[in-house]
Amino acid sequence: MSGGQSMLFVLVGVVAAVSALYAVLTRQILRSIMSLGAFLTAVAVEFYVLAADFVSVVQIFVYVGGVVVLMLFALMLSASGERHPLAGADRPGLGAVLAYLVGGGLVVASLGAGLPEPGKAPAQTVDLLGRSFLGGQLFAFELMGVVLLAAVVAALVVARGERQ
């Protein structure tokens, strides 16, 4: 990464971290989901900065256009009671300590990892991805299709079970 790029990376990274934090902290589910949307978009930008443009667009397509919309649907169809901020019942203490420990450990380990800086990224991402999907990773790609089938059937069965 060039100097400008790494500065952009850090900047967008701060945006991502802040929106992620807001998403898990706020007591209004709608804000949480919207903040998640901002976070996902920021991560998509990070992907672009890391020269993974295809992943970046997939992130927007599937996550922001798909998952966030699904979550909003779920929220709105179950909305009546949840318009107001959630009441207590959260337990911050222990979770905060544990998350802090894990995060701290990871950060320290990352700082000490001493990985090399990546070289120049290939420009023809789409070509290479296509070759990978239909070459070395063909099996994983096909398996993904079965996973999708499973998810569709599972979601339908769960949603239908409730009608009986």
Binding site: S2, G4, Q5, M7, L8, L30, R31, M34, G37, D53, F54, S56, V57, V58, I60, F61, V64, G65, G66, V68, V69, L72, F73, M76, A79, R83, A123, Q124, T125, V126
Partner: protein, 321 residues
């Protein structure tokens, strides 16, 4: 390109896109009213300016100065975000539209996919707007609208995949290059029809304008909006319509390819022809019912778009040899 230059170029293009979208909306609304007038044997707006040419300009001035009304129980943040999130994707999608050889902001590796992905965010805006208004009509409109949006996104994407197969690239310039001799309309007629029809559903136009079916839902998700925020919805609708038509030109009509005239002109002519087509459809066909609409998406368009993929494969064989 260095970071700063990219940023400056992006900002410039953003401002230009916004201006284009604004101007386009102004013109297209007027054109639409005139066309609807002709089709229904009326004259349309006539009073402001010669032949009513300034009518929409006056409308915009009015909208800008109108009071911004917000229902008392509406969720303030969501109410503000809703129109923004519908308008911004429409503007952003202009980034990959090639108005002419140099007139494209970014010829992304993944341009075609970008164009399909970015407007997808609109669904979030529609849902938010409908929900935030705290109004049953708005809420139903928002839900229907985004459900429709998501359902039609699938056959639409698959219709475009056919073109991508033929072009062998997701890059907009490569798609255009591949059509230098024969536009894909010839090789992919079914794909074109699918794209056009699903696009009508995506931009909520008749016969797929369920979310704002006036007779049932008042004005759908934007029932409670007024003034500038309402104008943003309009901007989004016409911006998206123009962008989608422009992309139809890129994908199926060979973009700016054409004899004699400069690319820019050809591009505009083709795009406006498609825009006219959508308006024509809008004012002549009746509206579907909500459940019919969903059935149509899943049981007709989805299978058809799969058939289209097979046809695209055959077309590839024909082109190859």
């Amino acid at each position: 390109m260095s970071g700063a230059a990219t940023f400056a170029w992006g900002a410039l293009w953003g401002a230009v896109s916004l201006t284009i979208v604004g101007a386009l909306t102004t013109v297209l609304v007027l054109v639409e009213r005139k066309i609807s007038g002709r089709i229904q044997m009326r004259v349309g707006p006539m009073h402001t300016g010669p032949h009513g040419l300034l009518q929409t300009v006056a409308d915009i001035v009015k909208l800008l100065f109108k009071e911004d009304v917000r229902p008392a129980r509406a969720d303030a943040m969501a109410f503000r975000l809703g129109p923004l999130l519908t308008a911004v994707p429409a503007v952003l999608s202009f980034a990959v539209i090639p108005f002419g050889a140099p007139l494209i902001m970014r010829d992304l590796n993944v341009g075609v996919l970008y164009f399909l992905a970015v407007p997808g965010v609109t669904a979030v805006g529609l849902l938010l707007a409908g929900w935030a208004s705290y109004d049953n009509y708005s809420f139903l409109g928002g839900l229907r609208s985004s459900a429709q949006f998501i359902s039609y996104e699938i056959p639409r994407t698959l219709a475009v995949v056919g073109v991508v197969m033929l072009a062998g690239s997701l890059r907009v310039s490569a798609v255009l290059e591949a059509q230098r001799t024969v536009p894909f309309l010839v090789l992919e007629p079914l794909g074109f029809v699918l794209y056009l029809v699903t696009t009508l559903a995506e931009v909520n136009r008749t016969p797929f304008d369920i979310p704002e079916a006036e007779s049932e839902l008042v004005a759908g998700y934007h029932t409670e909006y007024s003034g500038f925020r309402w104008a943003l919805f309009f901007l989004a609708e016409y911006g998206a319509l123009f962008a989608a038509s422009a992309f139809a030109t890129v994908l199926f009509l060979g973009g700016g390819n054409g004899p004699l005239l400069p690319a820019f002109v050809w591009f505009l002519v083709k795009t406006l022809a498609i825009v006219f087509l959508t308006m024509w459809i809008r004012w002549t066909l009746p509206r579907f019912r909500s459940d019919q609409l969903m059935r149509l998406a899943w049981k007709v368009f989805l299978p058809l778009s799969l058939v289209n993929l097979v046809l695209a494969g055959l077309a590839m064989q024909v082109v190859a040899g």
